[in-house]
């Protein structure tokens, strides 16, 4: 593996859902790059298309949706050209995924060992004993005490945090190059979240695994990610190095998100919020989709803005930035 080829390079990805009420573009012109061992934070409100982006990469978009455009380059290979058979070999072995709700991701009627061993044996022809050994090691790796006994347990015998650790252990089983984590700590309390974040970060550094961390929690991104992509209504509105974006947001939406973090508020003052709500994908406003909620909106925003590249390498989709750059 050459160092120059990024683990994941998404270019102009478009995913549409063909519903009875018409085609909906859930992911529209999304591009980002994740290098080996890097963590990308994919941030946005509910319905901004971040989860669909994750599922698109794995080829697991539910009917009636499918990827309709762009490229997904995984270590240089375009996944959009993959057959279902090739995808099967890839899933769980080179790219794995952790889901949002740990209470729902494990099959309630199968034991943990069954669910772990099948993940190994789906990709490698190893004996059951060897697979069990690896499952045991993986459980130990994510900090589950007495993994030997826990292998024999059913999911309902674990707490939410423990189940999410098991899910991570399953994701790590085949030493993937990339893990897509879809809001994996949203359903957990903060202390468990902190532990899982810490361990995930450590594991990624040790193994060189790249991570796409989908979340709506900017504080998680701040502590974990190297780069960040902010999504709004299916589009990336701002992306760049995490420190640059969080310290000096250029897109009004990013600014609003950061302003909405409660800890930044003065005590007794009303909490800051972005007015309005996420537009329905069926009925996006013309031009910039954030226009109606934006305090800086002008007539120019009737036209959809294109992406402009700032001097620090940051990409922003906003007319104000475009103008500011053209005046320099």
């Amino acid at each position: 593996m050459t160092q120059t080829v990024p683990t994941l390079q998404v270019e102009n990805l478009q995913t549409q859902f063909f519903t009875k009420a018409g085609a909906v573009t859930a992911v529209n012109d999304v591009s980002f790059t994740v290098n080996r061992g890097e963590v990308l934070g994919l941030v946005g409100e509910s319905g901004s298309g971040k989860s669909v982006t994750g599922f698109s990469i794995l080829g697991l978009v539910d009917q009636p949706g499918r990827v309709t455009g762009g490229k997904i380059l995984f270590k240089g290979e375009d996944l959009t050209q993959y057959t279902e058979k090739q995808y099967k070999q890839l899933r769980g072995s080179r790219i794995s995924m952790v889901f949002q709700d740990p209470m729902m991701t494990l099959n309630p009627v199968l034991r943990i060992d069954t669910q772990m061993v099948e993940a190994i044996r789906a990709h490698e022809n190893v004996s059951k004993a060897e697979a069990l050994q690896r499952a045991r090691d993986a459980l130990g790796q994510v900090g589950i005490p007495s993994p030997e006994e826990r292998l024999k347990s059913y999911p309902h015998q674990f707490s939410g945090g423990m189940r999410q650790r098991v899910a991570f252990a399953i994701a790590l089983l085949n030493k993937p190059d990339l893990i897509i984590a879809d809001e994996p700590t949203t359903a957990l309390d903060v202390t468990i979240q902190a532990q899982i974040l810490y361990e995930t970060q450590k594991l990624c550094r040790e193994t060189g695994t790249s991570l796409v961390w989908i979340t709506h929690d900017l504080t998680v991104v701040a502590g974990l990610a190297d780069t960040v992509c902010v999504m709004y209504a299916g589009k990336v509105v701002e992306s760049g190095k995490v420190d640059d974006v969080l310290d000096n947001p250029k897109h009004p939406y990013t600014e609003g998100l950061i302003g909405s973090v409660p800890s930044r508020n003065k005590r007794g003052q009303p909490l800051t919020q972005i007015p309005g709500m996420t537009p329905s994908l069926f009925n996006l406003p013309k031009g910039c989709s954030f226009r109606e909620r934006c305090q800086y909106a002008s007539d120019a925003c009737q036209q959809a803005p294109s992406i402009s590249k700032c001097e620090d390498g940051r990409l922003v989709r906003c007319h104000r930035v475009e103008e500011a750059l053209s005046h320099v």
């Binding site: 099967k88 070999q89 099959n107 009627v109 669910q115 099948e118 993940a119």
Partner: protein, 324 residues
């Protein structure tokens, strides 16, 4: 588990006791067996002699007390009509019904689960729609009519299968069974299929809705994200989850199939207990009716118990004898 069993047993005894009172009183209220049993030509002395012999001269609570005392010793009384122990008559007929019922439920599962899953996996396909339409027919067509049609088609027109009776039987542990001989099997098939049709439709619907529901669960998507093959997802992840409702419902249905196979048994002249019950009710043969119903209740209790145990095997979240 032990506490669960003991509690279940004591509950069962209460149920049986209450049940016996209701049935005893119920049959008493229907009519006087004397009117049917005794030859109207017989003289008064003869009539009184018969009434005394059957114990029908005593007040009803004394009759019940006697029945209860005997029942506790395992004697449910003699049939008024056949003058044989009621239980013996029932047990003589029971194997035929059991054989029929088990085969029917077996057919319902073996065909119903795969068909239902298929319809659930491809709900909008032609195959899925055909299966569902078929299941609606299975639900709505009356059993006796389907039975007559089966006889007409396969026995009368085609002449492939016999229309009535058990055919040749062989003894298995001293019990005559039909399914071990070719002739017996050919006699068994039509009534079993007739009886199975309704249950099969039920299983198809349960399996289909279960499959559709389970397919949407995160754990199925997670299994796909692990790269697990479709065959394993359907055959293990989905199947094991949908078997929970199927087993529950079939357990209850098995009881009703055994207890109320009356229609099918009548249409195919199958010498089982369903036929016996109808005859006994029309003769007001109280000991047989009471014994039959007590046996049926016992059977339901046993089946429910087995279902609860199966449940705990299928669904690890169910713990028997948990807190009340």
């Amino acid at each position: 588990m032990l506490a669960f069993t003991i509690r279940r047993l004591s509950q069962s005894v209460v149920v049986l006791f209450v049940m016996s009172i209701i049935v005893f009183a119920g049959v008493y209220a229907i009519g006087n067996p004397v009117d049917i049993l005794i030859n109207p030509e017989a003289d008064i002395a003869e009539q009184e002699e018969t009434i005394r012999r059957l114990g029908l001269d005593k007040p009803i609570w004394t009759q019940y007390g006697l029945f209860l005392a005997n029942a506790l010793q395992g004697d449910l009384g003699n049939s008024f009509v056949h003058n044989l122990p009621a239980l013996d008559i029932i047990f003589q007929r029971l194997p035929a019904t059991l054989e029929l019922a088990f085969l029917a439920v077996g057919l319902a599962v073996v065909f119903g689960v795969p068909l239902g899953m298929l319809a659930g996996l491809k709900p909008d396909s032609v195959v899925g729609r055909v299966i569902m339409t078929g299941s609606i027919l299975g639900f709505s067509l009356p059993t006796f009519w389907v039975g007559l049609m089966l006889i007409m088609l396969f026995s009368v027109n085609m002449g492939w299968l016999p229309a009535s009776g058990r055919g040749e039987t062989v003894d298995l542990f001293g019990i005559p069974v039909s399914f071990l001989t070719l002739d017996g099997l050919s006699h068994l098939f039509l009534p079993a299929f007739n009886l199975a049709l309704f249950k099969m439709s039920l299983v198809i619907r349960l399996a289909r809705s279960g499959t559709r529901e389970v397919l949407l669960q995160d754990y199925i998507k997670f299994a796909r994200a692990k790269g697990v093959s479709d065959a394993r997802i359907i055959g293990v992840h989905v199947l094991k989850n949908i078997m929970i409702p199927v087993v529950t419902v079939l357990g209850l249905e098995l009881g009703s199939v055994i207890a109320f196979a009356v229609v099918t048994e009548t249409v195919f002249a199958w010498p089982g207990i369903g036929k016996l019950l109808i005859d006994s009710i029309s003769h007001l043969d109280r000991p047989v009716v009471v014994a039959y119903l007590l046996l049926t209740v016992t059977m339901f209790i046993v089946i429910n118990f087995v279902v609860d145990i199966l449940y705990s095997i299928l669904d690890p979240r169910v713990r028997l004898g948990g807190a009340n």
